[in-house]
């Protein structure tokens, strides 16, 4: 117990970013993770650092997302400097392409409602018709109705980001233990003991960052992480010449030339094989947005589970009954990586999630909260 301050359960995107943030502040951190075949959204995601459209019904989420997008350049610089690994971040502004007038109008209405919320930090965006969109994205198809553009949106290379976090963790002297699935957690005399087939380990503080595994672990330390099933599917094409220089909500061309496509949401946790009808819809929409995509060969397709709460907003919380136990969960771990590494890690190091973030407590899901 003397040689470590914090146990982080889960070495995915949240676990790695928060563990690095804690190690940066001088805490001695141990990350316990599952093995190579685990469900790990960190290895399956789309890589957007995305602001536009988020925060309808919770303006704090918009502000929180904007704050992370603003911190991202420092995150990218620091990771690059520390590890030599470039997370491939750029923020050229992003487009949501709308295929029909109805889709465009829905997008416009949503942005109006979103930005009409009192106390929201308003950010610039533009509504573009077909011609205006074509002037900026010459490869769009003839039937695209228009788009919504926001200069805050960007993207990163998710695998390099993930590797950079792990390399930085290692450099800071934090221990990363794969094949250390945590089965049980107990709390006694101010110490948390985690247990698995591999043995046990204790520390005074614990952070639950186990992705979809959090739901099972949280109640062991008086926390609650309800999640809903959501499967996302991604298509990757062969590398081709650059034709798309901005991320589009569901399509982006990565720095190496491949195009990745994905906007599906299926309410299932059944299995993790891609389903052909979903692939067909994704591909059809992508080809209508950018006809060149229809000529590219697909090289990979995969499906993965999102970590998503019933209202879609994150959970950041300290246990009321077991002080020193924290839970973190969210569905935009790339976008929010800078907040997690800098801000959330700072709060956990201080031992308190501040009142300004209490809106992200899981107590909002308690039916009896008002009683």
């Amino acid at each position: 117990m003397t040689d470590r301050d914090v146990l982080v359960v889960g070495g995915g995107l949240l676990g790695a970013s928060i563990a690095w943030g804690l190690a940066r502040l001088g805490l001695r951190v141990v990350v316990l993770d599952e093995g190579d075949t685990a469900f790990r959204a960190a290895r399956a995601n789309f890589g957007l650092v995305w602001v536009q459209g988020k925060g309808l019904g919770k303006l704090e989420y918009s502000n929180w997302t904007q704050a992370s997008a603003a911190l991202w350049p420092s995150l990218s610089d620091e990771l690059k400097r520390e590890t030599g690994i470039d997370p491939g971040f750029s923020q050229p502004g992003g487009f949501s392409i709308r295929l029909t007038e109805l889709e465009l109008q829905r997008g416009v209405d949503a942005m109006n409602t979103l930005q009409g919320q009192p106390n929201i930090a308003r950010y610039p965006y533009e509504i573009l018709n077909h011609r205006e969109t074509k002037a900026r994205l010459p490869a769009i198809g003839p039937t695209v109705a228009g788009s919504i553009y926001s200069p805050l949106d960007g993207h990163a290379n998710p695998l390099r980001l993930y590797r950079a976090f792990h390399a930085a963790l290692h450099k800071m002297g934090a221990a990363y233990l794969p094949d250390h699935r945590v089965e049980r957690i107990s709390h006694q005399d101010g110490a948390f003991t985690v247990e698995g087939p591999w043995g046990t380990m204790s520390a005074g503080r614990i952070v639950l960052a186990a992705g979809i595994g959090n739901t099972r672990l949280a109640p062991m330390v008086g926390l609650n992480v309800p999640l809903v099933p959501s499967r996302g599917q991604i298509i990757v094409t062969e590398k081709t010449m650059p034709f798309l220089h901005h991320p589009v909500g569901n399509i982006r061309q990565v720095d190496e030339g491949g195009v990745i496509i994905g906007e599906s949401k299926e309410a299932t946790m059944d299995h993790h094989r891609p389903r052909t009808p979903v692939t067909a819809v994704l591909a059809d929409r992508a080809m209508r947005m950018f006809p060149i995509i229809g000529e590219l060969n697909v090289v990979r397709i995969w499906a993965a589970f999102r970590i998503i709460t019933p209202d879609g907003f994150p959970i950041y919380e300290q246990s009321r009954t077991c002080r020193g136990a924290f839970a973190v969960a969210c569905h935009s771990g790339v976008t929010l990586a800078a907040n997690h590494a800098f801000t959330i890690a700072g709060h956990i190091a201080q031992g308190e999630i501040p009142a300004s973030l209490s809106t992200f407590s899981s107590e909002r899901f308690d039916v009896s909260a008002a009683a």
Binding site: M241, E295, N297
Partner: protein
């Protein structure tokens, strides 16, 4: 360079490589059929123009790219040969019929 195993038999399929008719066994991949027919140069690289042929035969190295029925960048080792298929050497980068201007 390559010889077929004696126990492999079956129906024959005819396809062309750069216009030359070749025969393959039904179920062959395009790469296997070409190699069995003595073809080792499948493409030239976009960078130096060097000649390339299949390396991994399992879809990961992308050395076996050819043009099939007019579409470039097809992995010969992952594509099953079909009757009448028109296979061509891929010279440099694939070309597309959609114009990309960006």
């Amino acid at each position: 360079m390559f010889r077929r195993l004696p126990d492999r038999q079956g129906d024959l399929v005819t396809f062309t490589f750069d216009g030359t008719p070749l025969t393959a066994l039904m179920g062959d991949t395009v790469a296997a059929a070409l190699l069995a027919a003595g073809v080792t140069r499948f493409r030239t690289t976009p960078v130096s123009g060097a000649e390339r042929g299949p390396y991994c035969m399992m879809g990961v190295c992308f050395e076996c790219l050819v043009s099939i029925n007019g579409r470039g960048n097809r992995q010969a080792c992952l594509t099953t040969v079909e009757e009448g298929m028109q296979v061509e050497t891929q010279h440099g980068a694939a070309t597309y019929s959609t114009e990309i201007s960006a």
